[in-house]
Amino acid sequence: MTAYLVTILTLVCIAIILGLSLNLQWGLCGMVNFGMAGFFALGAYSAALVALSGAGTLAATVTAATICALASAATALISLRLSDEYLAILTLGFGEVIRLVILSEEWLTGGSLGLPGIPRPFWGLVSEKDYELLFLGLLILVVLGLFIALEILVRSPFGRAIRAVREDDIVVATLGKNVTALRVKAFAVGGAIIGIAGAFHAFYLTYIDPSQFSAIITAYTFMAVIAGGRGSNKGLLLGAAVIMCLIEGSRFLKDVVQVLDATQLAAIRLILIGLGLILFLIYRPQGFAREYSLKGSKLISPRT
């Protein structure tokens, strides 16, 4: 019983970390990232490979963060001069590329066979039975750490600047060149956080393979951010928790509802997730408030 709750909470924590990064990239900076799953995979695999090489889980996590940061920076750089829709597609494509590379480069990633036996942090410190609890504790610490760090960052001049970038093109213009740097930095930091999420995913499952990093992860993360209220890290904590609990909770539907076959139930589940996303956007746009202000200017400038 408790062990199941621990599992769910662990998954929630990983979802929260992903959410925090998207909240930084999209929520605060307005840079949409449709390649979440790809960067997540990149993080998980880098971490796994380093950990398997025996360099230790800390080194693994750091490497994962660094690699994802660099990759994100690169992606942001490519789309620097372009409006955000392009970034969305670029990130999507980038995610695809990562997926293909992981699938195809068996010598490195084990291809579709994946990487088994990934070491875990503090393994053997406690009995196998209690380990999951220890892991969850560690993860919660990481979440809180990131949360606080991000809250501070949001209030810092840097944070104010990136919010400005999201909110107002005029500000962007006046801030001038360093805006581009800001965007790249913000996106890179976000990437680093995804990397950390990936690392912990790898540690938790101890086995990773390409099928774990499907685009649905991206969808869930957007759900979490939107549900929590875009831009609000506090809201996100709850958003992610609620989403994960709904997703997991819907498993119990099967045990009760017998009329539909499992395929249909699974489909309904995804339908509900899609609907939830849309309904939130339409009826609960908390955190979108600022975007109304773009209305007028958007209508008039022919560029939009």
Binding site: S293, K295, G296, S297, L299, I300, P302
Partner: protein, 240 residues
């Protein structure tokens, strides 16, 4: 004798983007056949005002009427068909379309019947011979002055009661400015009511029957050009 019923009128209009209003408590009566010009320093809210009239910016408070018709809640397209035509300051033609297409597209969605449209087209082409000359030409290739003319022509295709012009002289050489304003006068002479936002105070005072001075989004003064030049120091006015 009673003054003629205003063709375009606003009562206590306020509007803006995002938080805060850019224009406040605007009450105007534009009488038929007059040239009504609005002048004011940059950022005084002139172009916001004209966009509110054209229906591009939502009216937050107050009323806008065209004669007896309430425009306040009509969309921009609906306002065109009721008889308010607007010529933006820039990007006022479709550069990727030919002149002919520009004219066509300006009437096709007004729900007028063919015959009326064709007659109006003839009238407009007569009014703008320089436009009529090369219908096949891509509008993007036109010079600033020619564009302005085409923009006027397109606006006229809707056979409007009131023509709203947003700084028609902006970025044009003095010679062209002259031509533009002559055209405006001829249009006005044909009985059309014209509402102009203008930077070029000299021209504005020359052409306007009445001039309104807008400062920080509210009406500072409304008078005839004569009164203004006689009684007031424009610089003081503009400095609010």
């Amino acid at each position: 004798m009673t003054p003629p019923l205003p063709v375009l009128s606003t009562a206590g209009v306020a509007a803006g983007y995002g938080a805060g209003d850019i224009i406040r408590d605007i009450t105007i009566d534009v009488t038929p056949g007059e040239v009504f010009t609005v002048i004011g320093p940059n950022g005084s809210g002139k172009s916001t005002l004209i966009k509110v009239l054209a229906g591009l910016v939502r009216t937050r408070v107050g009323e806008i009427r065209l004669g007896a018709i309430r425009l306040t809640h009509l969309s921009a397209p609906q306002r065109v068909s009721t008889g308010v035509a607007y010529v933006p300051q820039e990007f006022n033609v479709f550069p990727n379309m030919t002149i002919g297409e520009n004219l066509k597209v300006s009437t096709e969605f007004l729900g007028r019947e063919q015959q009326a449209t064709l007659e109006q087209r003839e009238r407009v082409l007569a009014m703008f011979p320089e436009v009529a000359k090369r219908l096949k030409l891509r509008a993007g290739l036109l010079s600033g002055g020619q564009r302005q003319m085409l923009a006027f022509a397109c606006a006229m295709m809707a056979a409007p009661k009131v023509l709203l012009l947003d700084e028609p002289s902006a970025g044009l050489s003095p010679k062209l400015v002259g031509e533009i304003f002559d055209k405006i006068e001829t249009l006005n002479a044909s009985g059309l009511t014209v509402f102009i936002i203008e930077q070029n105070v000299k021209e504005a005072l020359r052409i306007g029957d009445r001039v309104m001075v807008l400062v920080n989004g509210s009406i500072r003064l409304m008078a005839t050009p004569g009164e203004i030049t006689a009684k007031h120091d424009l610089h003081k006015l503009f400095l609010g």
